[in-house]
Symmetry: C2
Subunit: 420 residues, 2 copies
């Protein structure tokens, strides 16, 4: 298991433009960020060190399920009759069934060592909320989760999981914050969005003692923690003798895509490889493929710093698709800069084709993927079929960010023909 996270900020030829303070519009400082996030995380956010040591207490917890398997998807290769080699990194084996725990643990850890007692966060599909619930339970922190209302209703068992781990879960928008009340007044029937839930969680953290906020994606320190996925995958790929020509991850706020990609992208930035990196986003929330690159807020109410990124607008209200974890309006600072500079690509995927890919994968590989992860599978299948058309042998690596065992209601709706 790797002992260090990889910080791509050290190697980017064009460093991203700074985040701006939401009021002063001046470049954000570590001190300012520390008012909302733990200082250790704020420092990571701005760090230019290439490698950052993973604290022992974090590694001890990683060892519960890491290293995660790198699997040759031979069932899928056979089903597609493709000359491509397909590998996937199986992040679904974590205790919460997704990659989110990779960042939840260090986030809870840094808050704990700084003496913070309460955390707030948002969650879309519930994967991040579940992960942070475990991590907070472990470090003795109290957690309040604002869960996007449509997921709260579509995925009732996700909140049961968080409940079992001792967290408080509130459907968002809610009456518990000023931001929530405003949103409910403006859109009484809103299914909610990650942007709204973030506003509520941020407001609550700002207005309560000894409380900080934690974010499950988008920010640099989150992507940093997730690089454990790609660092491990590099070591595992070495043993196979293969190196990926294409790396694919689904894309919501970027955490799993960055996690699998950055350690391989390091070789491309160094001019040693020409691997393609594809972010698979839902067609209903296509910030990378159809968004604008501009300064925008991370939340719907404008409480977070302004981030230079591809965005659909912080008031964008995505359709209530089942891949709740991908319903986020912005692409984050690092990914957006890499996209702008042509280092990575993006593809958009329709909901029905994503579930179709998920069912095929379930049947040939045995693992039912999370609705989010089906987007990566779908693009991997497209790449494998293109390799077949072109008669080219290439190596495809994708990240299976999570399993779908708690999302069977979504598959039921797919089989019943109720999804569009």
């Amino acid at each position: 298991m790797p002992t260090r996270w990889y910080n791509i900020l050290a190697d980017m030829p064009t460093p991203p433009a700074p985040m701006l303070h939401p009021q002063t519009r001046q470049p954000l400082t570590v001190d300012e960020m520390s008012q909302l996030f733990a200082r250790g995380l704020s420092e990571q956010e701005f760090s230019r060190e290439r490698f950052i040591e993973i604290p022992d207490q974090v590694r001890d917890l990683y060892r519960i399920w890491r290293p995660t398997p790198l699997v040759r998807a031979s069932g899928l290769e056979k089903a597609l009759d493709t000359p491509a080699k397909i590998y996937f990194k199986n992040e679904s084996v974590s205790p919460v069934g997704s990659h989110k725990l990779n960042s939840a643990i260090p986030q809870a850890y840094y808050n704990k060592v700084e003496g913070i007692q309460h955390l707030t966060t948002e969650t879309g599909a519930g994967q991040w909320g579940s992960a942070l619930s475990i991590a907070c339970k472990h470090f003795g922190l109290d957690l309040r989760v604002y869960m996007v209302r449509v997921s709260y209703e579509q995925k009732p068992y996700r909140k049961s999981v968080m409940h079992t781990y001792g967290a408080t879960v509130i459907p968002s928008p809610s009456e518990t914050t000023e931001a929530g009340r405003q949103m409910l007044a403006a859109y009484p029937n809103t299914p909610g969005s990650l942007g709204m839930a973030i506003s509520e969680a941020v407001e609550y953290a700002r207005t309560h003692e000894n409380t900080r906020y934690a974010l499950g994606s988008t920010l640099n320190h989150v992507c940093l923690h997730q690089t454990i996925i790609g660092e491990e995958a590099r070591l595992q790929m070495e043993k196979t003798g293969d190196y990926p020509d294409v790396v694919i991850g689904c894309f919501g706020g970027g955490s799993n895509f960055c996690g699998i990609s950055f350690p391989f992208l390091r070789d491309k930035l160094a001019g040693e490889r020409s691997t393609r990196f594809i972010a698979a986003e839902p067609a209903s929330c296509p910030k990378l493929t159809h968004g604008k690159f501009e300064y925008d807020f991370g939340d719907s109410q404008g409480l977070t710093p302004l981030i230079p990124m591809y965005t659909l607008g912080h008031d964008f209200q995505p359709a209530a698709i089942h891949a709740g974890g991908l319903r986020y309006h912005g692409g984050g600072q690092i990914i957006s800069q890499l996209m702008k500079d042509g280092w990575i690509e993006a593809a958009d995927v329709q909901q029905l084709e994503s579930f179709q890919a998920g069912v095929l994968f379930s049947q040939v590989e045995g693992i039912i993927p999370a609705p989010e992860s089906t987007h990566a599978i779908c693009v991997a299948i497209q790449e494998a079929l293109r390799a077949k058309e072109e008669g080219i042998e290439k190596t495809i690596l994708f990240n299976l960010s999570g399993h779908g065992l708690i999302d069977m209601a979504s598959y039921d709706r797919y089989f019943a023909g109720e999804l569009s």
Copy 2:
């Protein structure tokens, strides 16, 4: 990963009495058994070879998730403030979230190589049905699952999982078999039972071409396949320098208990160790602690061979507890003989205390256990607390047979105070 399964029949000082043909009441033969089960499995049922090679195609599939982690439950040790060392074997990491896949794969395999096209089976909680669905999909077999009605209703997403893997799932008792129709006439509101579901699956297999039946527990060949758990655990325990003083598994039909126990019991049978083995059964279905040792059928209608075993009677109708996988009336041939001869023990656990143990475990170890597995955890906790009272350092090993992520409805009911 071990290359061989361990067959405890080779080492039992008192071999179990033979199974009897249900009509002739004569000892069952391999040929007779082969009319219902694949011949390869029937031969394993009667084999006296100590070790049986795991076929390559089976090992290739095992490698998807095996070896499974052996975990030191340090969170639990700390929470209990016990001098005992607690280890658990984490079988929840399989693609279906339980140990059942260990036998599903070889069962589908042997049927496949013999040219069988259709399989039938029963399932309680749905773990076995899910596992066999994957295995059948892999080997191109068609599968029909009779699912105990109460689980079909309590655990709707389990049938979605089987559906995703392409199986046909029928709530039992059903109108699709003579056995089912008789049971519905006699008990119109029955929640069903494993015994009933077995009758239906057996009848369907007997009355259809090129169709065999597969059973997820109880029989010798199933226990044999599950010894991969204990064989692996032995190798992993060796690395820790510890050896278990107590081995614990939850007990429904015996498959996971036998799997974790037999490879260690080999040392006890050889006079080299004095480890205790505890089968943790639900108080509502206490065949080992309160059943009678006698010949009984494996199903409610008397279609299976007669098995010499501890039983509550083949017409016993267990309460509709949430640990659906433990609602079986009989203890199986090998376990019952071992129990009779004093090699193993049994303990019964109330539903509420099992969930209480499950919630504690979730919070300190991060994994939400299946309702079945909470029984093993509960007994492990009792043993650890006893060690504390007595001031004795001992090593406890239990099998975490599966996770509970698809059983969150059960946890919801527990938290709502609706369970008894």
